[in-house]
């Protein structure tokens, strides 16, 4: 996907300082400048894809390509393009600039494939889950057989604490997976029984987040099922001081005891916006491979 990268870097440099809706005339100018660099350029040596030209039409920026005789488009070319743009974080400049995209592919001077992406489509797909991250053999997973999907455009980081297996990070949002041995095996029925005992659960949550009963009210506490297994969900308000300003946010937890491990998934953000839906979607992608 070398050619996407080239285009994206170029466009990013062009649009970076804009950050807002560009005028049709400005878009025309950009397409002219881009055309000089793009025309005749070998975009991808492995497929023989070449830049043919760049034009703008109203709010649409159209990238044209010449393709060799043996080139055929993927069935899911549009999805691939959209996913790559989101994964590289470059969809933002099209959303901010309200620019639609067109990809035209020519073979022997004949248009053989065209793809259109409206900028509003990016906005709808901004939170899209990508590929599975396999954590079964991760040394911090302690033998739990588990995988989950990362959101496109989110950075995947190794956990920086002793029991944090992985982190997905995007701007102010963090989603992490934590695993710690508890010293005994527990069965699914035992976990269910524990979660039914309100006072035990409250004590457990308070111990976990290090608060006392007076200054903590468990919000939205409920038992949910992830992959056929009971998990306790709850959320907690957090506040941190940054540059003298108190920033508030919400942390969402999905926690359980699996085999002889305590496991939780936590999504948090230090902003006024609550990203529960994004964190929920990541959690919903979890596969506990020993449950089926």
């Amino acid at each position: 996907m070398i050619y996407y990268r080239f285009i994206l870097v170029f466009l990013f440099m062009t649009f970076n300082c804009i950050g807002q809706r560009v005028s049709d005339d400005h878009l025309k100018k950009i397409s002219k400048e881009l055309r000089k660099e793009f025309t005749g350029l070998v975009i991808d040596q492995s497929t023989g894809l070449r830049g043919r030209g760049v034009i703008s039409f109203g709010r649409k920026l159209i990238l044209q390509y010449d393709v060799p005789e043996n080139w055929y488009p993927f069935d899911d070319l549009k999805q691939v393009l959209v996913r790559n743009l989101i994964d590289n974080g470059n969809e933002k400049m099209y959303i901010n600039g309200e620019i639609d995209l067109g990809y035209y592919y020519y073979k022997n001077n004949k248009l053989i494939k065209s793809i259109s992406i409206d900028w509003e489509e990016f906005d709808k797909l901004r939170f899209t889950l990508g590929e599975f991250i396999e954590l079964t053999n991760h040394p911090k997973s302690n033998g739990l057989e588990i995988k989950l999907k990362r959101p496109l455009g989110w950075e995947v980081r190794e956990g920086d604490g002793p029991h944090i297996v992985k982190k997905f990070v995007n701007e102010q949002k963090i989603y992490l997976m934590y695993v710690k041995e508890i010293g005994q095996f527990v069965s699914k029925d035992e976990v269910n029984s524990f979660f039914k005992n309100d006072s035990d659960v409250k004590e457990f949550i308070l111990g976990m987040i290090g608060k006392n009963g007076d200054d903590f009210k468990v919000k939205n506490q409920k038992v949910v099922t992830i992959e056929n297994y009971p998990f306790l969900y709850f959320s907690d308000n957090v506040a941190k001081e940054r540059m003298g300003i108190e920033v508030k946010g919400v942390q969402h937890y999905w926690i359980s005891f699996l085999e002889d491990q305590m496991i939780y998934f936590m999504g948090s953000s230090l902003s006024n916006e609550d990203y529960y839906n994004d964190f929920y979607k990541i959690t919903n992608s979890i596969k506990l491979l020993n449950q089926y």
Partner: protein, 169 residues
Amino acid sequence: MKKFITVLISIVVTTILIFGLFNVSENKTIEPVRNLSYESNEEIKPYIDKFFRDLNNHGLTPVIPQDFIVKFSDLESHKNTSHTHGISFGYKDDDRVEIYINKNSWNSFNKTQKYYIVYHELSHDILNLDDLNDLDENYGDIMYPYISKYDVLKMNDFIINMKLLFDSL
């Protein structure tokens, strides 16, 4: 009286013969199995540690003998053990734990089966428990003799059956 003495002598001789044959048989098996074994500490040790942890959690604190061997062995290469997933030689011998696990079986087993075979063999040597009969009602039990049939069981099945066994002791 003479008849009684004759019967008694017959019983003693028969017993000696049986034990003698058993020892010969064990010796015929144990040496090749030992020779086919190799160090496996890193892979099996976490399972052994959890076995003793779980015994302890159930208030069971058996004395661990000094003579303690749990290793992989190429059991398939020896005719007496070619169809054996694991073999223990310390059953009813409190001074010895000597267990060999078929490396090929281990590699083909899922996580649940790995827990089952280690707990099964250690239950022979540490707890002196015998195999159960191959009956449907025993399926899922730690001492059921055919771990290869456990390929569809999950960790939750192992946990339930481990607790049932240790709670019963």
